[in-house]
């Protein structure tokens, strides 16, 4: 993956003499102090991030955290007071008027919280606005616009005016209008915040759907953690103009940088965010099937466990041998393959915890996490699932690690 957008030390201050304020911030003055003393508002301070091509990058924060200010720096609706933003290696902050026009017409498009539609234009006229600005002929832009009307499911609404549509429909117009320019980068400023929850959910799903097809680089602003985690490949959390942490939703949950992040993620339904690979532990009780029953018994005795997973040399899962089965096998001179049970439930690493829970509940043995080629990546015990869905708080973090750690050895597995 290549870096699409690189944000370097971007600061945006609003007021008559923004540059003068920078030394004050460097000395650590708070946003409120600066506003009181100088009348300047610090929108964003010293933001750094790299956004990958094709990534859905979410910027999350409460109102006033500077997230909307930051997203407007990406198409220079706000010109950063200092710092650089590289898009495909070019610093857009230094663009002249013509370059900026080209950049806005071809590379970047934006979707707004309150839709920002042109109420004097019909749906299709709204959607073809960007093409009209670029000087395409009417028939050309009608064709392209029509295609995108179909993409967002607005067929039949072409000649209506925005005020005749519901909120969800209006935002579809907003999205279609942005897509029509075929931009590399799609900026979305709280696009679904003004919609009611059911429609919001539906729109999120459709956005994910569109994204799988079109593979744009999306920068998405929201104040809603659940939304951020649902659609974001990575999430940046902002507070008072500072970027507090950037990471995947799992990283934010598992290794929060500070209490603010913990507070923010408290309400998250963790089982919908964490995947099998986030909660599994190293499979210590695994052995090569070639080694035979005696080795299996020794292995179980050493680790104090009652069953062991059997693999081939490529670490692909073959089955499981219990201690009882192994001892019986030795007595009756059976081979390992004969006493091995293949009745083992598996999960793939990308499955969400909530989808694993039913299997963990019915399984007699640990759940095995295997990749597409059936290689063992890890195992999941009931205790893993439980501890994963209990939220971290600062003081029980270490304890949590212990549970997730090498506990496999001591866990008794009964038949």
């Amino acid at each position: 993956m290549t870096v699409k957008i690189k944000v370097e030390n971007v600061t945006k201050i609003f007021g008559p003499r923004p540059k003068k304020v920078i030394p004050m911030i460097e000395k650590g003055a708070s946003k409120r102090d600066i506003l009181e003393k100088t009348g300047h508002t610090v929108g964003v301070y010293n933001a750094n991030m790299e956004i990958m091509e094709g990534e859905t990058f979410v910027i999350m924060g409460l109102s006033g955290s500077g997230k909307s200010t930051l997203i407007r720096c990406f198409n220079l609706l706000n010109k950063p007071t200092s710092g650089a933003i590289y898009v495909d290696g070019e610093n857009i902050v230094n663009y002249n008027k013509e370059q900026l026009k080209f950049f806005r017409q071809k590379k970047v498009a934006m979707v707004f919280q309150h839709f920002g539609l042109f109420s004097h234009r019909t749906v299709i006229e709204n959607i073809e606005y960007g093409l009209e600005i670029r000087g395409l002929s009417k028939s050309e832009r009608r064709d392209i616009a029509q295609k995108h009307i179909n993409t967002v499911g607005l067929k039949g609404y072409e000649n209506q005016y925005p005020d005749e549509l519901s909120g969800g429909m209006r935002q579809r117009v907003g999205i279609a209008r942005a897509l029509t320019n075929d931009p590399d980068i799609l900026l979305m400023d709280e696009p679904f915040s003004a919609l009611d929850p059911l429609i919001r959910r539906e729109m999120q799903m459709e956005l994910l759907d569109i994204q799988t097809r079109l593979q744009k680089t999306i920068i998405f602003i929201t104040h809603d953690v659940n939304e951020a985690f649902r659609i974001g490949d990575r999430v940046a959390v902002m507070k008072d103009g500072h970027v507090e942490q950037i990471g995947t939703p799992e990283e934010l949950l598992e290794t929060p940088a500070n209490d603010y992040i913990i507070d923010f993620t408290r309400e998250i339904d963790r089982s919908k965010v964490l995947q099998a690979m986030n909660i599994m532990s190293k499979p210590l009780s695994v052995m090569n099937g070639k080694d035979g029953l005696h080795v299996a018994i020794k292995n179980m005795e050493e680790h104090g466990i009652s069953s062991v997973f059997i693999t081939n040399r490529e670490r692909q899962l073959l089955g499981l041998v219990t201690i009882d089965g192994a001892i019986e096998g030795v007595k009756k001179k059976k081979t390992l393959e004969e006493v091995m049970t293949t009745d083992v439930l598996t999960a793939n690493p990308e499955e969400y915890v909530q989808d694993i829970i039913p299997r963990v509940l019915v399984s007699k043995y640990p759940l095995v996490v295997v990749d597409e080629t059936n290689r063992i990546e890890g195992i999941i015990l009931r205790v893993h699932v439980l501890s994963s869905i209990i939220s971290h708080s600062a003081d029980d973090e270490e304890e949590g690690d212990e549970i997730l750690g090498p506990s496999v050895e001591t866990v008794e597995i009964t038949e």
């Binding site: 407007r72 198409n75 609706l77 900026l100 026009k101 080209f102 950049f103 806005r104 017409q105 970047v108 498009a109 934006m110 707004f112 919280q113 309150h114 839709f115 920002g116 539609l117 042109f118 109420s119 004097h120 234009r121 606005y129 960007g130 009209e132 600005i133 670029r134 005016y161 925005p162 005020d163 209008r177 320019n181 900026l187």
Partner: protein
Amino acid sequence: MNEFPNIRIPIGDYVEKFIDFLAMNFGWLFDFIFTIASTTIRTIETALLATPWWAIMIVVFLLGWYLNSILNGIMFAAFIFLIGSFNLWEDTMTTVAIIVISVVLSLAIGIPVGILMAFSKTFSVIIRPLLDAMQTMPTFVYLIPVIFFFPLGNVPAIIATIIYALPPVIRLTELGIRNVDSEVIESAECFGSSRNQMLVKVQLPQALPTMMAGINQTTMMALSMAVVGSMVGAHGLGERVLFSINQINISLGFEAGISIVFLAIIIDRLTNGVADRLQSTGRRSA
């Protein structure tokens, strides 16, 4: 002690000298304006008078029907018929011609000025007191210098009318453009619109309903100047009113007066109808 000290700042004299200077040195310019203006009025007037009365009545009826309701259409047609029956047809057409040219010129000046004011805060700050003066300065005060430049008649009346009727369209054009939703502006901007594209494709259409209110106001104020304008020799209904005052002719005064009211109602409803029509397709209900 309590009396104001004997200081005299003779601004009035300076203004008078300035007017004299203009009249002396720019006579050719005013002659030119006069020729164009009077020719235009005469053309419009002739055209209106050449149109049969029933054709005008039908047009007004249809417009009223289309822009308001069939009932209003009938009412407007009746007004037109009444005016004709007062024997004031020619005077009314003259007044309409004066109003049309005044309004057209007011819009031609007012809309660009309003746009500039919306874009430049400095310009707006400079122009605003001027607009206040134009609206509050008693009309007769600027009627006096106007007759220095032009012979008595319709032309000075038009100039006075423009001065009086210009401010609303300027103010509401500025307001309309300034009040366009900031997200709408941003969205036009982020598609790479040039300034002209932004103005023509987004700002003006979005401001149009507000501007229409200004245009309506300007038209009504132009009409109310019809009487005052006849003090500097304008013809039409105003002249009849003035005439009836001199003669204490109550019946003529009432007929001419009510004709002006009829015109006002028709023009107001029609321009409002246009504004409503723009409103219904031009604004989101948010």
